[in-house]
């Protein structure tokens, strides 16, 4: 047990936090719009959307994330290289974090659409009808009446989603993205301090997820007042 080493690794691993949180935030932002459309499409029974959503969810839900990452990481670079052959962009110079954004968005979209759908369903149908009755357009009714109420029931599920996403991003080391886990892995292999390295990131992940839960707890309290 080397406490000097633990402290050094802790500081080094902290530099991976922006990457971990960056992938989390970007994936949620990228997947929000498709998830919203998927959810609304299912609610309005647009033809084909429900079937597509069920099949898509089943596939994403039953594939191990590591397998999805490896699959797309072998697919994307050569595919992009092919598409961008005529341009001067060199695909293999691209930061692999871009692939992480795409893959995690793909994984998040399904879950997020389910969260949005169930949240909208919890809002009483009369609310939407009342809003339309007083002359709001559909968009206005959703933005001002339905969504603010739906957020309340969506928050606990969103908290779960964010935590699972943060945990999921620990797999990006297979794509050579340097997140918290990747840094610890490098440090561990460099000095053979396996236990110390992984213990350090174990603590960091607990801190991050604890903070996220605190933030959501605070948000839930704030929303409850409205």
């Amino acid at each position: 047990m080397n406490f000097q080493y633990i402290l050094e690794t802790f500081i080094k691993a902290l530099s991976g936090i922006p990457v971990t949180l960056g992938i989390t935030v970007v994936s949620i932002i990228l997947s929000f719009i498709p998830a919203l459309f998927l959810a609304l499409g299912r609610l309005y029974k647009v033809k084909g959307v429900t079937k597509f959503a069920i099949v898509y969810l089943a596939f994403i839900r039953s594939t191990p994330p590591i397998l999805l990452i490896l699959f797309f990481y072998s697919l994307f670079p050569s595919l992009l290289n092919n598409l961008l052959k005529s341009t001067s962009i060199n695909v293999f110079d691209l930061n692999p974090i871009i692939y992480a954004f795409v893959i995690f968005s793909l994984m998040t979209t399904g879950t997020l659409s389910e969260i949005i759908r169930s949240a909208i369903l919890t809002v009483d149908k009369g609310q939407l009808e009342a809003a339309q009755a007083i002359g709001l357009t559909n968009t206005q009714a959703y933005l001002r009446i339905v969504f603010p109420q739906a957020i309340k029931s969506a928050l606990p599920n969103l908290c779960n989603l964010v935590i699972n996403l943060v945990k999921g991003t620990s797999l990006v080391f297979v794509m050579t993205v340097k997140d918290i886990t990747a840094i610890a892995k490098i440090e561990a292999a460099y000095g053979y301090h396996y236990f110390e390295s992984y213990f350090v990131i174990f603590v960091i992940y607990i801190l991050i997820c604890g903070l996220i839960q605190l933030v959501f707890h605070f948000l839930e309290k704030k929303v409850a007042i409205i």
Binding site: R61, L67, F71, L75, L79, K167, F202
Partner: protein, 230 residues
Amino acid sequence: MVSYNPSYVLSFLPGLLSALPLTLFIVVFTITVGSLFGGALSWAQLSGDKVLNAIAKAYIFIVRCTPPIVMLFMVFYGLPEFLKWWLGIDINSWSRTVFVIIAMILLFAASISEVFKSAFEAIPKGQLEAGLSIGLTGFQTFLRILLPQGFRIALPNITNAILNLLKDTALAYTIGLADVMGAGNLLIGRNLGNYSLETYTAVAIIYWVLALLLSLLDHTLEKSLDYNRN
């Protein structure tokens, strides 16, 4: 052009299927031991003992915040080093399977204990009281009245937990275990890095079929339990 030859997917399947027993063994063993551990955790939370409750809650919080891969690395790389430093025991020669199973049990117990707890809380309190009032002991009431009802309520969530366990088990290849995922990676290595897309598709098909079988089993069980009730 990205080369993709679907016929390779089929030819890779038999080789990968030979690794399936190991994956299934890990999953089944983890479910058995993990459920016992998880049951103990939910009992600790429901027993009303403040200290036990706090310990169980802390454990679940910590595991909920730990990425599966970090848990696996901690157990595989950390545990031998830690035990050697602490007690002087050398467990480096143990099979990788043991470490994977330990890590999976630690993860699975936390998630399944939440399932058990919520199922138990969903049963009306009158059931317990009715069982006790007709003269059953506490244990008999639990076994004959609460457990069958709780199981039915918990079934969808149990399926979900097992599905997540199956997905987490795929991480075992990162420490060099030749389960389905590991066999796939070995195969890619043997083909000098070629046909990776076909191999991953074949691996994915195995996981899809497993998930499909699991949800079918869940579906039939739910139906038959419903039938008994009516």
